[in-house]
Symmetry: D2
Subunit: 271 residues, 4 copies
């Protein structure tokens, strides 16, 4: 099947969804997340690269496990701030953002290659993700770094954000990310965590939101039904019910005839 056929096929079905999760967020002696349990239900893993979490030994183990589970591997690139877990905004220059992306993606790629696989995507983390969602020149710097490493990499970013626009503008494949458990503003941005109702606590509501997103829509906080493009759903691996919800969502999608898969045909294993 040629690639264009695949995309037609996928277009027709319209029933493929990627489930991604942030993985490898342990550091040194400290554990975080339920990496192994999540691998059962996700199709792609965003692996921390040592700047906001992760370290070489952690990365090595996690990459091997991801390959064993045939999960698409992405680099989860963040600010150099372990204490703040990459969640504190930093006023880096665009050339610094470019260079720190190259560095982290390269570091992870070494483990991926050593495991006989190939890197599938890049997803910015935390404050870097939030800043690049709204700041086009920063998004451009990140996208350029990804393309300069490998133009076949998929750029994961917030659906409808500057990250997606920047990546598309230089010809990268993109995966528009949506959240099962976050509510949206009418402009497609996420409701700030400081606002009550930002999180969807009820599992049924979260499932219903994903189903609606599969149809390209989401109900905004204002009540409006807005358009949203959903290629990949972000699951949180470090929360109490994370694994249970991931299992439930994967099962429900299957029942609905939706195939859970990473957004490209690229084989994870190198031939």
């Amino acid at each position: 099947m040629a690639i264009h056929q695949y995309y037609e096929f996928r277009e027709n079905v319209s029933r493929t969804m990627d489930l991604n999760c942030d993985i490898g967020e342990s550091f040194g002696p400290w554990r975080m997340g339920s990496d192994l349990a999540m691998f059962e239900f996700i199709s792609s893993a965003n692996i921390a690269c040592g700047f906001h979490a992760g370290d070489p030994t952690t990365m090595h183990g996690v990459v091997k496990a991801a390959v064993a589970h045939n999960v698409a591997i992405g680099a989860h690139t963040g600010f150099p701030d372990l204490q703040g877990f990459g969640r504190r905004e930093m006023s880096v220059s665009h050339s610094e953002a470019y260079a720190m992306t190259l560095y982290q993606v390269g570091a992870l790629t070494a483990f991926v290659h050593a495991s006989g696989a190939r890197l599938h995507h890049v997803k910015p983390h935390g404050a870097l993700y939030n800043m690049a969602a709204k700041n086009r020149p920063l998004a451009d710097a990140l996208a350029q770094a990804v393309r300069d490493i490998d133009p076949a990499l998929v750029f994961y970013g917030l659906a409808g954000s500057e990250m997606i626009s920047a990546a598309k503008a230089i010809g990268l494949s993109t995966a528009s990310e949506v959240f099962a458990d976050r509510t949206y503003e009418a402009d497609g941005s996420l409701v700030s965590r400081n606002i009550s109702g930002a999180m969807i606590e009820c599992e049924e509501d979260a499932l219903a939101q994903v189903r609606q997103m599969l149809e390209g829509q989401v109900r905004a906080r204002s009540g409006e039904l807005i358009q949203i493009h959903a290629d990949t759903v972000c699951l949180h691996g470090d929360q109490p019910h994370a694994v249970a919800f991931a299992k439930r969502l994967a099962e429900e999608l299957k029942k609905d005839g939706v195939r859970v898969a990473a957004p490209t045909l690229l084989a994870t294993r190198r031939t």
Copy 2:
């Protein structure tokens, strides 16, 4: 010319020598070394990867400059100890040593690829270099990491050391490193810096030692003439007369009919 022809040719001439230098040892706002000046005279550069020196922005600039000067690029891998500049021994496990090598080589490779070039070699730094010279299992871990990333990479290590043996044992190309300005013990190891006479201060004596090494010999501290295999001479870029000596050595080698070149035919530029 086929590769086997090249090696025969090189064997016949026996008059090729690599001049390598540690490059990119600045960090953040702090400068070290005379990178640009050294590029004029060296054939290969060992670039710090952010663990003992260097940072993403520094690496980006230095890699571009190395490519512009057509210098073979190597990863200079060290202990995660910026304050100690990688010169303090650390009791890392072999799997930690393996993983930190993958990480650093991968990080540098991203900059090299983004500059349209390919990585040529890996050389451990400082305490890691000294420990691996004598510790075979540690040397094995480093060599394995290099091979798992790319079996075409050349492993640079102290001539006659466990690093060279370990790299050869798994089929890596090696470059046996010698020092123009250090004296040797009768067993081929370097005289400790704590011993008077460890450093050769006189430029003429250093040149004479390199000439002797080209013939496969060096006069040990004990007075004996011992065998030594020399593929590459290490030049220090951070010392007062570093650039002047590099210039002088390059000129003298040229006069002697020795070609200064990195130890493989691998093109630096990717096609």
Copy 3:
């Protein structure tokens, strides 16, 4: 009661024991240990100072909690190696060891003073502890740093080790540390964790060992009964049954008429 009276009193009773625990070993978003639960049963806390664990925000919270529980506060000083949790030996110079001790003790002292308390002791951590136990010049450097900050600080170190000798030699008060759950060699050193039987798994055996230590003796691995001086028992806060064992030990000591208290009369609160 004058101080000399206290010490006579204590000598007579011979029935005071300090229970110490490593506290504040979380870092950034990562949790470790059961700090709050342990505060109920211990008399002194060794608080990580940001080099091997801990960070300013963690230290701030833990110090306030320690003061609230009226637990004697010590600085737990380690190697600058978060990833390795300070458990990897590093070949630092004695002047580096001296300076890193000053730095860490000073940093913790600021939180202690801001909480209206005073620092009680210093205990080296991990590889630094193990190295200084056997290396007198290193132990001297650590003890000197402690005395240069405040000669009233108590130096906690392995019973019978070079740390205790070094601290005594410059006039510091010392606390000889013993372990409830570790076995001993005939020379008073700990059985290496690599040897089977290094850990005492059975709670009753651990309690029996502490009772024996209160009498100044311990049964070595060789079967001999050797002399040991015990001022403080180290409890591990990061193990599954840590809190339960701490509770049990505190209760058993109380039943035996042993007072659980930090090894000096120094008030924790500043007047």
Copy 4:
């Protein structure tokens, strides 16, 4: 002379000025600034505390030198960002800013006490300084930390900024800092470095500006003569002509009958 007499005296003369310089900005193997040369001409030193620059060994050496030169010692507190030299804004919470100030001031204090001296002041660095100049809650957090360590410490901050207001509001002594080589806006803020004319290149102009500041005035970029309160002039130690300008300024002030001294009577040496 009683303290109140001193302040009256100083009020009458109106001819005392502090010259401060950022000191101890080396890190590990990397050198920055001309610390020893600057000590000859300055009355107070802001010493980096290991977050944006400096390390324990550097701090130890620099503090001893400052004490030997009888220079008032301050803690130069910054963001935890060595690569960015503390010049990149970070969105830390106020409690994080409070804790990182305690940590750094405490760390430096240990070296100061070990050298038999006492800490004199605290001055935020780089992005932390610039942010706190405009952000009152952040300035409050920094001032609170300083007071919680020692209410006798002097808070150095940009003249007319929120830092000075915050410190005064909780009863700290303050030193209003001015710059010889920077131009000012009509509101008393510094002209941004991105605007041409932000720096005063001409030495004579810089001297003239300091003389004017001694009279409580400065000519703004707009041409207006505005009021400015100057307790301390910041000299830059890392620029080519830094030492020459410091020498010149110290000499000119002396000629004018101005006494160069740190802004309090607090003796540097502890008795």
